[in-house]
Each structure stands twice: as C-alpha cells, then as structure tokens.
Symmetry: C2
DNA sequence: GAAATCGTTGACTGACCAGTCAATCTATCG
DNA sequence: CGATAGATTGACTGGTCAGTCAACGATTTC
C-alpha cells in the first residue's frame, strides 16, 4: 500500500513512511517506552493504564488503539527483548568456539542488556521470568527455549569431554542462567554495586565460576 | 494470662491451651495454610480474600480478625519461613566445618524446604523474593541478611585461601543463591524433573559447580 | 474541496474486591 | 444463671480501574 504512492513529496529522506504511518509507529514506540518506565517504577499490577498514557503524553484511549489490553503491552515488551536474546543464543550456538566463550557471550549479552536498559530488564525479570501465575506461564514456552539452548550447549561440551558428564546439562543450564539473573536482581534491588567495572567483573565471575565447576580438569 | 487457670479440666494432655485459645490458634494456622495453597494456585494478586476464607472453610471476616490485611497474610508466611532459614544459616556459620559443607547445608535446607512444602516455596520465590515493587521491597532487609551471611562465609574462605580472592564474595554469594533459586523455579514451572533423586542431585550439583569454580586449586 | 481513512481524545461504565461492622455464637467465670 | 470477652459470621460499602465508545482532528485521495 505504501508502494502505491508515485508522486508524493518525493523520497528525499530515503525510505519515507508518510507522515501518518511514521507518526503512528512513533506513538506506539512512545507508549512502549513509557510503559517500561512505569512498570519498572510501580510494577505492573500497581500501575494504571492512565499512568502509562500520562507518562507517554498521550490520551488514555490511544493505548487501546495500539494494544488490545494492558497485558498486551507487557507481552510486547517481553517478546521484543527475549526474541533478540534467543537470536543471539542461536547465533552463538552455530559458531565453532569453545563452550566457555559461548557462555561468556550469553552472560555478556544479558549483562549488557541490563546496562543498556535496566528498567526493561527489571520488568522482564520481575514481571515475567518469575511470574509463575501470570505472564511467566503465558510465555513459558518462549522462556524455556533459552534454557534448552543453553542446556544443549552444555550437553555438547559434555559429549566432547570438556565438561564433566555427571552433572545433568539441563540442571547446569538453569544454575548458570539463575546465577546471572540473580546478579541483575542484586543490581535491581541495589544490593550490589553497579558501574562499568562491576558489570564486566560480573560477566567474568559467572563464567569463571560455572565453567570452573563444570570443566573436567577440576573433577576428582 | 493462661497461667491464671488453677483448676480447669486438669492438664491431662500436657501443655493444654484451653479450648478457646487452642481453637483460636488453630484457626489462624488454618487460614495461613489455606492462603499458601491459594497463593500458589492463583497468585497473590489474582486471588481474592474470599478465596482464602473459602479454602480455609471459615467466614470472610475471620481473616480480618487474625490479620490486618491481605498483605499481612503473605508477610507472615514469608517471615515464618525466611526466619527459619536465617537461623539455620547462622547456626551453620558458627560451626567449624569447611565452606563446602556450609554451602552444602544451605543448599540442602532450601531444596528440602521445597520438597517439604513446594507451595510455600513457590509463593516465597514468586511473590516476595523477586517482587522488587511490592513485597520484595518491604522485606529487602530480611532477604539481604541471608545474602550477607553467605557472602561472609565466602569471604572468610577467601581469607583462609580456600577460595580464590579475585571473585568478590558478595557477587559469588548472589550467584550461589540464584543458582539454587533457579532450580526451584525450574521445578515450579515444571521445566525440570522432580523426585527424591533429582532433589539430592540438585543439591550436589550446585555445591559442586560453585565450589568447584571458586576453589583455588582450579585457578590458573 | 469533498469524502474516506485512520489517528487521537477523554468521559463514562460496569465489574470487581479489600476492608468494615453490627449481629450472633460460644466458652469461661463469679 | 447471667455477664463478660472473645470468636465467628457475611452482607454491605466505597473506591478503584480496565476497557468502551462516540466524537473530533488531521492527512490523503480523487
């Protein structure tokens, strides 16, 4: 439909979307970004849809023009981010590098996600990843995919003799992911010091600890 | 006040409380236990106070006779359990045993808590431990105490040369606790197999992995 | 420039539910 | 027995808020 616009005001600014379409997608983004801040500040249950609209500077009804429900706003935020992570994990998995580097890349990605947008990661962890009765249950299959991919990497390393075989891969994957998530939780609750250096050390710590414990050379 | 009952119906059954007092504390317990089931099944926000009353088989108003609010019911459940854990950790900390055994005792306690009452642990993890905007924030000091105690154990082991010094103790403590909590989360979401054997292996796994990664002999 | 399309507005409604309270019941004691 | 205190009941209230909708505004098309 946008292709059927021969004359127009010319495509001077490259891939133009037209004032209307552009404004529309801008507003949607505006609402999503506002929702992240509001959810992070007050929590999903404690905030009202009007808080999101106010934060975004739009009318209440507009939220319902772009999203079917309050839930859908959170669903969208979660899926946007989680799918990027899944893509990263799949990419890493395809590469021909040692497990330690693969796990390091995953830890880096998660920590950098927090560094880049702490509010979003707070919302995802607090409202989705552990919410066994609401959103966590809805997205369980998507969440699980990440755990399974990591578990696969560990299982492969065990088959290759790099990791001890006596620790079940799925359990080790959960422990690895849980360790990272708890470090983010520590930052979210302000129990751990933040800042560039601490983020870098945290990445290293998780990989060093978990790989150190899983690698065969330290087996007895 | 209960001591001021000389005659009564005799203390045949040992430390008797009197029909009234006994019935009262029974009902309170009944409500707490019912609340655990309801919170685990529906989640704190999704359930109504009437659901708790119905599950307990008492009238709606009685919940408010024993608790000032719906929140207080959850607060009570959390504190009851968390304080038992804090006591266990402190006890373990006093003993003169290797860190590995201390951490093993803590992992055992948490896993056994889940085995003994999965619903309660589900509620604590899902509704409190990670709830940065509601209960988690209220109980942050209490939660933190556990992390700090574990961090202290690790720091001591580092000072003794048993653990590598280059991994900050507080971070390692969070990673350790997070690994365990994520295993419980795996059971809660039914992503990991349960049963006696798996519980025992999980305890071993976490300690083996984390200690294996922290101990000096595997340092390079 | 008229019509169609879609973005935008915010007042309104219907459902829901935490917490209150006055009434009723039951045990204990003088 | 009668009185007192505490346990128990459940109907009711007041406030909250997700989602609706009818109207208005801006842009594009013919």
């Amino acid at each position: 439909m946008s292709a059927a616009r021969p004359g127009g005001r010319s495509a001077v600014e490259g891939a133009e979307l037209g004032a209307r379409a552009k404004s529309a997608s801008d507003k949607r983004r505006l609402i999503l970004d506002a929702a992240v801040r509001v959810f992070a500040r007050q929590g999903f249950h404690a905030c009202r849809v009007s808080d999101i609209a106010d934060e975004a500077g739009v009318a209440y009804g507009l939220v319902y023009h772009y999203f079917a429900s309050k839930d859908e706003v959170l669903d969208t935020l979660f899926l946007e981010r989680w799918n990027v992570m899944l893509e990263l994990i799949r990419e890493v998995d395809r590469e021909q590098i040692p497990v330690r580097e693969k796990l390091s890349a995953i830890a880096s990605f998660i920590v950098d996600s927090y560094r880049h947008d702490p509010d979003l990661m707070k919302v995802i962890i607090v409202e989705v990843t552990r919410a066994a009765n609401s959103f966590g249950n809805t997205h369980i299959a998507t969440i699980r995919e990440a755990y399974d991919l990591i578990g696969g990497m560990i299982a492969k390393a065990q088959a290759e003799g790099v990791f001890k075989p006596e620790i079940e891969a799925r359990f080790a994957a959960m422990a690895f992911y849980g360790a990272i998530e708890q470090l983010l939780t520590g930052w979210i609750f302000e129990l751990l010091p933040q800042g560039e250096e601490n983020f870098e050390r945290a990445k290293w710590l998780v990989v060093e600890t978990v790989c150190g414990g899983l690698e065969t050379r330290s087996a007895e």
